[in-house]
């Protein structure tokens, strides 16, 4: 081949690179591994992740749900996972139709009118929602619930740092476990209220009331959902009056995978469709009148509007959005309701049992979905470490990880994958370890 382009040595291919920056030696990367060696190496690394192999009650933005076998089987079809972004609709109808179904499902679940093809994840979706609220209202102040996932808040802070948006914290009702906003502070400068429901502490917020507070001041209500299975049971954010809804879609059949890749759901009102970040797929027809799907309203995006784009985002989370779509369609209307029901029932059972342990309490009175805070009579971090070591259970998250002023609180999450025997074992372990 080299000869066919008139060259003698591979080095000549790189003749336009100045000699002083051309590498003389091989990179300090180890020699190639065979397939068998590689698998052995990764298996041994995976074996050091002991937390992956034991019963777990961790939630807090990433949830362990059962994913039907066909989800992973179908996304591994070459036609899906090795395809590019569907810029050429004639040879991308499979991807485009799947995204159209995804957008429809997201609208149905969130109760909104328009959804995009997905964001990187819930946290970046929330940051984009804050920026969008500023674009729509041309106001600069955004009031954020103190019961928002702390990592989401950090991401939003980074994104708005140079956008001239000011994030202010709302209040927290320590009895109910719900966020509250001083109505006097929600004023004509306020672009949006941002609230997570169920909130970071597992409590279901009074979203309808918060929508009223926001709308009275001409502000938007942004609702964030980290446990998307809750959408199958709880009143949809759209029905509650939300203007922008973002959610983490990992719960829809996507593996935990140490935090990613996940998929952000992003939905809004029809009137804001041209302010939405990211890709959109719409219906189109060819000359023969055949229905197809195409990327549309692209003038919002960076490759056309450059620095005036609604976002710099240039991908969606295609394959993960596909996994979520397949999951939602496989579980279907009744399956989603049943999963949500089991989560709520099992969490209620676990909460009741843990609340009965001497010295433990459940500090919040608000209704919850599948997560709750339990207050232990001793520091939660040490307690959880001990039950991991002695009982081989990850009992939840010590909230001191994010909130040093909550040393004794642990956040417990229960899903349909946690058998009753696991819950009972957790209760026994907590009881045994409490003193």
């Amino acid at each position: 081949m080299l000869r066919s382009v008139g060259l003698e040595s591979p080095e000549e291919l790189f003749s336009t690179i100045p000699a002083d920056i051309l590498l003389k030696d091989l990179l300090a990367v180890p020699p190639a591994l065979s397939e068998m060696e590689l698998l052995a190496r990764f298996e041994s690394l995976a074996a050091q992740n002991s937390a992956a192999a034991r019963p777990s009650f961790l939630g807090a933005g990433a949830y362990s749900h059962y994913s039907p076998t066909i989800v992973d089987a179908l996304i591994q079809r070459s036609e899906f996972f090795t395809a590019y972004t569907p810029y050429q609709p004639e040879v991308s109808q499979g991807t485009l139709q799947a995204i159209f179904e995804f957008q429809t499902l997201v609208c149905q679940l969130t109760g909104m009118e328009v959804a995009n093809a997905s964001m990187y994840d819930g946290s970046t979706g929330l940051a984009e929602a804050v920026l969008m609220a500023e674009r729509v209202t041309r106001r600069r102040k955004v009031l954020v619930s103190p019961a928002l996932h702390p990592e989401y808040l950090r991401v939003a802070e980074t994104y708005v740092e140079h956008a001239g948006v000011e994030l202010q914290r709302g209040d927290f009702d320590e009895g109910a476990g719900l966020s509250s906003f001083d109505e006097a502070g929600v004023d004509s400068e306020t672009a949006a209220l941002v609230v997570q429901s169920p909130n970071f502490f597992g409590c279901v917020e009074e979203v309808e009331r918060l929508a009223e507070v926001a709308h009275k001041a001409g502000a938007l209500l942004v609702v964030c959902v980290t446990e998307a299975i809750s959408l199958a049971m709880l009143k949809s954010p759209g029905a509650c009056g939300a203007d922008i809804v973002v959610a983490e879609g990992q719960s829809f059949g996507v593996p935990l995978s140490f935090g990613g890749p996940y998929v952000g759901l992003f939905a809004t009102r029809e009137k804001y469709a041209r302010q939405i970040p990211g890709r959109l797929v719409g219906v189109a027809h060819d000359k023969e009148g055949r229905r197809g799907f195409v990327l549309t309203l692209a003038t919002r995006e960076q490759h056309i509007r450059r620095e005036k784009a609604t976002s710099n985002i240039c991908t969606n989370e295609g394959l993960i959005a596909l996994a979520a779509t397949i999951y939602l369609e496989t579980m279907g209307r009744r399956g989603l309701q049943e999963v949500a029901g089991q989560c709520a029932q099992k969490a209620a059972y676990a909460a009741r049992r843990i609340g009965e342990i001497e010295g433990f309490s459940l500090p919040y009175s608000a209704p919850r979905f599948n997560e709750f805070v339990a207050r232990a009579p001793l520091p939660a971090a040490g307690l959880l470490e001990r039950i991991a070591d002695e009982h081989n259970i990850t009992g939840g998250l010590a909230l001191s990880h994010y909130f040093p002023d909550r040393p004794n609180d642990l956040l417990v999450c229960v899903t349909e994958t946690n058998r009753r025997s696991e819950i009972d074992a957790l209760v026994a372990a907590l009881r045994e370890t409490r003193g």
Partner: protein
């Protein structure tokens, strides 16, 4: 004579899943609830619950779902089917081995908030990948947190902002405001610069397709320049030969150099941005390191920077100490988080697997093959298609529709006609500085035979443009749908399915 790449075959029709839904069908079964069932009202009062009974969400069987997705999947072109010559997108083979690695239960089932001591293997994966990327780029500071190229780019530009503010002061008069971006850049560059609060000024290119040094010097004469965002090799596929001088000019003006790493597939194992004088770069693991594009993501866009800029990288950082691997949240100068948790970890696994299965030799050879393949295409097609720049291309080569345009056949037509020959179209109308651009990147994942088939297809289209231009203008002829009316779609956007009678435009 080579066999042509494609022939036609039957394709299956398939409606939207919502149109197939039948009340009462299910495709799942859960174990029976094993705790005492409490009345729902006791758990969540009715006023906080859904009232619509999830109306509209499909009810289908498992085999319905399998056939549905299998059928629509066949409407996609994909890498496993053949060459995907999308310039600037680097569509290379996605090894099944990497997929297997990512699905090892010890990784797939690991919760991101698992205690560090019980997630040492995952932290080691991140740490090792960081080490390898540092070696490959010649830049010491690495964060794997960004989820995509544009996200890594935003991270890099924010790091520049934070560094300059710390160095010069963050007051309005001390702050530098201008980010220089070549006219050939990806659209994400100005969008990311804008997100970080910069004003964009454009640097023009020379007729030879290189950054215009005089224009750059002129722009750098002001002391308001924060930096330059440069793609190298640039978006016309040429190595910026004056890269050292470019970096010097920007540095002398007090600015930093950001490199868009979209085209790293031309450099791995042969040259390193860090050695060129570049301060920050993002990589696209889904391009250079072969993690699958998945029909538009997930990507992964690590941000790599010099030792000097390292403190500004997102937190947490994965570090190694005496007890093993740990997460370090402590750096006060950090720009903060850009994403929850640690980035697209599943992509980190695949990229590390790619690096380890290639080794130092293999990485260098892959780059060599990628450049050689582009060189072959440049040589074989220069007779038929106008090539605006004469310098030998790196891993991708740009042509235009200038010659075919005389017969009324434009770049879009040529791209669509290529589909009839069994190939995915090349990147079209990018970069913007080349009128009617066709940017072709074969990558290393294509053999001699398929390159030859591609060349023959392109030559045949060029002949057709002369002899039967209508044939090209109306392409494609073999796909299940023809060209779509995108204008009508954008005027009255229909962005979701609605039950019969409820369909409205968005």
């Amino acid at each position: 004579m080579n066999q042509p790449k494609a022939s036609t075959h039957i394709t299956q029709n398939e409606s939207l899943i919502f149109e197939r839904s039948q009340t009462g069908r299910t495709g799942y079964r859960l174990p029976a609830l094993d705790v005492d069932e409490a009345p729902l009202d006791q758990l969540v009062p009715a006023r906080l619950r859904r009232e619509d009974d999830l109306a509209g969400v499909p009810e289908v069987s498992e085999v319905d779902v399998v056939r549905h997705f299998t059928r629509i999947s066949t409407w996609n072109y994909h890498i496993d089917l053949g060459m995907y010559p999308l310039g600037s997108c680097t569509m290379k083979y996605n090894s099944r081995l990497n997929e297997r690695v990512a699905r090892i239960p010890g990784f797939a089932n690991l919760h991101p908030l698992a205690p560090e001591r019980d997630a040492q293997g995952a932290l080691q994966v991140i740490y090792e990948l960081q080490q390898h990327l540092a070696e490959i780029t010649g830049l010491a500071g690495i964060s794997l947190q960004p989820a995509a190229g544009a996200h890594g780019e935003m991270t890099g530009v924010m790091i520049i902002r934070a560094f300059l503010d710390a160095r010069d002061g963050a007051t309005e008069e001390k702050r530098r405001h201008v980010m220089l971006i070549p006219d050939s850049a990806h659209g994400t560059n100005p969008a990311s610069a804008h997100l970080s609060g910069f004003t964009v000024k454009t640097v023009r290119s020379t007729p030879e397709g290189q950054t215009d040094l005089d224009a750059l010097r002129e722009l750098c004469a002001s002391n308001d320049v924060a930096g330059l965002m440069l793609t190298n090799p640039n978006t016309v596929g040429l190595f910026e030969k004056n890269i050292r001088e470019i970096c010097r000019i920007v540095h002398d003006a007090g600015g930093l150099v950001y490199m868009d790493g979209a085209n790293m597939n031309a450099l791995v194992g042969w040259a390193r941005p860090g050695d060129m004088g570049v301060d920050v770069i993002h990589l696209n693991l889904h391009k250079t390191f072969s993690t699958p594009h998945g029909g538009g993501g997930p990507g992964s866009g690590p941000c790599c920077c010099t030792r000097e800029l390292e403190p500004y990288l997102p937190v947490p950082r994965v570090v190694r100490d005496d007890d093993g691997f740990a997460l370090d949240y402590g750096e006060p100068r950090s720009i903060g988080r850009v994403k929850a948790f640690f980035g697209n970890f599943g992509m980190h696994l695949r990229a590390l697997s790619y690096i380890l299965t290639h080794g130092a030799d293999g990485l260098r050879e892959a780059t060599e093959a990628a450049v050689l393949n582009a060189r072959v295409i440049a040589r074989e097609l220069t007779g038929e298609y106008d090539r605006p720049f004469n310098d030998p291309p790196m891993h991708e080569v740009v042509f235009t529709d200038k010659r075919q345009g005389r017969k009324g056949v434009n770049t879009l037509d040529i791209a669509k006609r290529l589909i009839d020959y069994g190939f995915h179209p090349m990147t079209i109308y990018f970069p913007l500085i080349v009128q009617g651009a066709m940017l072709i990147e074969p990558t290393e994942s294509v053999g001699r035979q398929e390159i030859q088939q591609f060349v023959e297809a392109m030559r045949a289209i060029s002949r057709e443009a002369e002899e039967t231009p209508e044939l090209v203008r109306n392409a494609p002829h073999t796909t299940r749908i023809g060209r779509l009316d995108e204008a009508a779609a954008a005027r009255k956007p229909v962005l979701r399915w609605q039950p019969e009678g409820k369909a409205t435009a968005a």
